[in-house]
């Protein structure tokens, strides 16, 4: 399941959906809006997407992960618009019979999402300035 949303990411609902007697391991990663990056203070993050292509790329990620690892559940939700401090911008949930595959798939999904999916983050700093993050070097 892939989703772009302008609402709060409901982490509990995602975990509940992935947890079943068919799996032995459930892994969830949340990317969260952080207040301090080194010395600079963030007020919030704003996310923009090329939505049609972002959905297509996310679908390709899900297919590729399912081909590579025996995961019985793969949930990717990315939030768009304003994401306040301490709230999740992205959730990746994987479930599998054994834990190593849930970890491997989860880490690959978030790493690859950050490389490939056409979504952009704008830092809104507390001093009122804003910066689009277009660095090739990735952070969070």
């Amino acid at each position: 399941m892939i989703e772009l949303t302008r609402d709060l990411v409901d982490a509990s609902a995602l975990v509940e959906r992935a947890t079943s007697p068919r799996v032995g391991a459930v892994l969830m990663f949340l990317g969260v809006t952080r207040q301090f990056d080194e010395d600079r203070e963030t007020a919030s993050l704003q996310y923009e997407a090329y939505e049609k292509m972002a959905l297509a790329e996310l679908a390709r990620l899900e297919s590729e992960a399912r081909r590579t690892w025996p995961i019985s559940e793969c949930l990717i939700v990315h939030r768009l618009g304003l994401v306040p401090l301490g709230e999740a911008s992205v959730a990746v949930v994987t479930a599998s019979p054994h834990r190593s595959e849930a970890f491997a798939a989860g880490q690959w999904l978030i790493d690859t999402l950050k490389e490939r999916v056409p979504i952009w983050k704008q830092e809104h700093w507390v001093d009122g300035t804003k910066d689009w993050v277009h660095a090739t070097e990735l952070k969070k």
Binding site: G31, A49, A56, V90, K114, V117, H134, A135, L138
Partner: protein, 81 residues
């Protein structure tokens, strides 16, 4: 042919519009499009060398030729997650 290119994030703001257009020869490659945009939209100069392009919502390399009527997008370095 006249092509329309979708812009996002920093590229959109550099130009002040979410779409731009330019005239290129029929069947041009992405490389030709990139050069044409560089000439016509100088404010894109810092970002364009680092941007990818997409044809019909799929990444396309610099050698890909642009079909008539394709949906074209300029994809500056992404930062989702």
């Amino acid at each position: 042919m006249r092509v329309v290119v979708k812009l996002f994030a920093g590229a959109r703001e550099a130009v002040g519009d979410s779409e731009i257009s330019t005239e290129i020869p029929d069947n041009s490659s992405i490389r030709v499009l990139r050069e044409s945009l560089l000439k016509r939209y100088p404010t894109l100069q810092p970002l364009l060398p680092h941007a990818m392009f997409a044809l019909n919502a799929e990444y396309a390399g610099d050698d890909a030729s642009i079909p008539e009527g394709a949906e074209i997008a300029c994809i500056p370095p992404v930062s989702g997650g």
